[in-house]
Symmetry: C2
């Protein structure tokens, strides 16, 4: 298949591109490299030394003989360029990672909120409109998030995308209708993924676009079978307060002797998936494309759930790290349960990498190896969710937020 | 109250500004005048001769002694200017009409789809972000649409915004949760209003913004008590295939001896409200603001429902007009029922203008009076909803779509 990977230079995009290239697909990465620009903006860098996308693809070619094409296109801003590319290249599938994907970054300032909404909504809608206009019947696979549902405490399992509801009819009877499982996003970033759902529903219904939406959990781990093949194919690893995700942050904190930063009670329960399983799920989704006229196919792309404090305790036990209990800069429930159905991927043959099996390797192979590259000042998570929370952040003499304090 | 009317130069925005000014409020119209630019783009103009916004406000001042301020701001593009204005002026309320509001225009070409999504989502989100950032506690009243719900045929009444659903708990019990009544928009325009709902839900929940969303039916009529006060205060009246709404189009078609254009079976049932009731509802919403921390208050702003063919038959009977049965350029159910709850506005004292009482006046006062200004070539509705429908449009030798044919 000819496959476009939008955002193919990113954390999940890059290993996905490699995975699918290794299977013989013709891969075209389309990326505006915004994630590299944001590194520059924030003054952070990947823990792992990451080459340019051009260099990475050159190495991949020399290692495997397979060419991955790279196209510098800003799909949110340059609609006409995107449309021309799709019309000319007629991809069989498009995998869409091209959105700003950090909740703390999306809540940093109003500028970041406005950027995230503008970028993410236009990126998704431009792809949908270009597919409709060109008539190219590519299967669109989108990376969504479990986070669109927020974290309810009613104790019901989250199904894969849809919920049957009963409506009272005027004639006294009841009608059953299947609706998108209701969302309640907790950040501007998560909100944009909730908006994406509505866009997908419309274009599948009106124009018969074939769409799969992957509601992904928090990705942990760094390596896949392909990124391991050469030092310069290594994946990015974010540990900073904005882009670093909870488990990877704990790992690097443990590696450098920094206390594990738990916000609030650590009672937040989250869904997780290993990066290797994530790229495998994308592959499974590609192999099981919906037909024209089908509703959007929605998968919960996660393999296990954990409470944040349980993860901290686990890593503390494995490494001897201490735990720092900090106030929570997010507005969210202090404690929540989370039960998620993921029957579809299991039925398609996904054999999950368990956190307890992969953790130690991750600590040895990545965190300790690159610990010397850590800038400790970038570890604190200082994007406050609201104006009320903002004053609780400790600041340095120049007024830069340092960390949250009680 | 100091009230900002975003989009206050438009069809409902202008009479709302006048109505609230007449009641003694300090009115600031903020508008980018895009609707006037779209008239130029489409080569159409309001049936009623409409002066510039500057001239209109000058007339209003000389007639009433009340000043309506006008600020030329593009709220979708110029976030910083909007934010500064809100921070400096600290309005008590903001009424938000500033979105591209025609479904056929939003489906015209891919450029129009991209424009509508970009403009509407950014406009709404910029207002929400600016309110949050400045901390100005203005009550935001937004004009939404009944059309977000699509046109289901299950025969259930559409409640005012929320639906209780039962979820199966893991422990075998049932939990009840109230969700936004599920939407199923049928055009890109309606889709953007569905996106707005998610934006409102988030900012009400995360930042305590006080928001009212008015799910409006199709507005008919032209005059309000204020626009009648002077010829140059007249409201706009759209009859063209993109911006003209069904009832107003029938009226002008009848006035010029053009057959009433019914698309499909005319079995579509729609909700309606007179322009005078529309501005009255906005007033009622302003008087009943939610408190900080409340969920978004949602009203169904409509007063009666009618089947399109029944309206055509009614006007044919009143005027002797013929009916032309044309193929439908929209993708929608041929026939649908529609039952809408509007108890909240009735409880607040709304006394609706009935269609059967106001129709004849509208025909005499507006349609016949200005019939000489009609460009008949602009009457056909030629924006096709899908690529499959597009080839059914009849074209002139230059390839311009003329009308839909079977």
């Amino acid at each position: 298949m000819k496959i476009a990977v939008l955002g193919g230079d990113g954390f999940v995009g890059w290993p996905t591109a490699l995975h699918l290239s290794a299977q013989g697909h013709d891969i075209h990465i389309i990326d505006n490299l915004s994630r590299r620009w944001i590194d520059t903006e924030l003054g952070v860098q990947s823990l792992t030394p990451m080459d340019s996308i051009q260099e990475r693809t050159r190495i991949w070619l020399s290692e495997t003989g397979r060419r991955i094409h790279f196209h510098l296109i800003d799909i949110a801003r340059d609609y006409e360029i995107l449309k021309s590319w799709i019309a000319d290249e007629k991809p069989d599938a498009i995998i869409h990672f091209a959105e700003q994907r950090a909740a703390p970054y999306s809540m940093k300032t109003d500028r970041h909120k406005v950027y995230t909404v503008n970028n993410n909504v236009n990126a998704t809608h431009n792809v949908l409109s270009a597919l409709t206009e060109t008539g190219v019947d590519a299967h669109l696979v989108h990376l969504g998030t479990m986070g669109v549902y927020g974290y309810s405490t009613v104790g019901a399992a989250i199904p894969e995308g849809y919920l049957p509801v009963r409506l009272d009819r005027m004639d006294g009877g009841e009608a059953e209708q299947e609706i998108l499982y209701p969302t309640r996003p907790g950040s501007v970033y998560h909100m944009t993924k909730s908006l994406d759902q509505i866009l997908f529903q419309f274009y599948a219904q009106n124009d018969g676009l074939r769409i799969t939406d992957l509601h992904q959990g928090i990705v942990w781990g760094t390596h896949t079978d392909q990124t391991r093949r050469h030092e310069q194919l290594i994946n990015r690893f974010d540990y900073d307060g904005d882009y670093g995700t909870v488990l990877n942050r704990f790992l690097i904190q443990a590696a450098i002797g920094h206390p594990l930063t738990v916000h609030g009670t650590g009672g937040q329960t989250r869904a997780f998936i290993h990066i290797q399983d994530s790229v495998r799920c994308v592959e499974l989704a590609l192999q099981n494309a919906p037909q024209k006229g089908d509703r959007v196919r929605i998968y919960n792309q996660m393999t296990e759930t954990h409470r944040v404090r349980d993860l901290a305790n686990l890593i503390a036990k494995l490494t001897g790290a201490e735990i720092a209990w900090l106030p929570n800069p997010r507005k969210e429930a202090a404690e929540n349960d989370l039960v998620v159905k993921n029957d579809q991927f299991l039925a398609l043959g996904l054999d999950p990498i368990r956190l307890q099996d992969g953790l130690l390797a991750e600590i040895m192979d990545v965190s300790r190896k690159y610990a010397h590259r850590v800038d400790r000042s970038r570890i604190p998570s200082v994007s406050a969710w609201t104006r009320d929370i903002e004053p609780t952040l400790e600041r340095d003499p120049e007024g830069r937020a340092l960390r949250s304090v009680s």
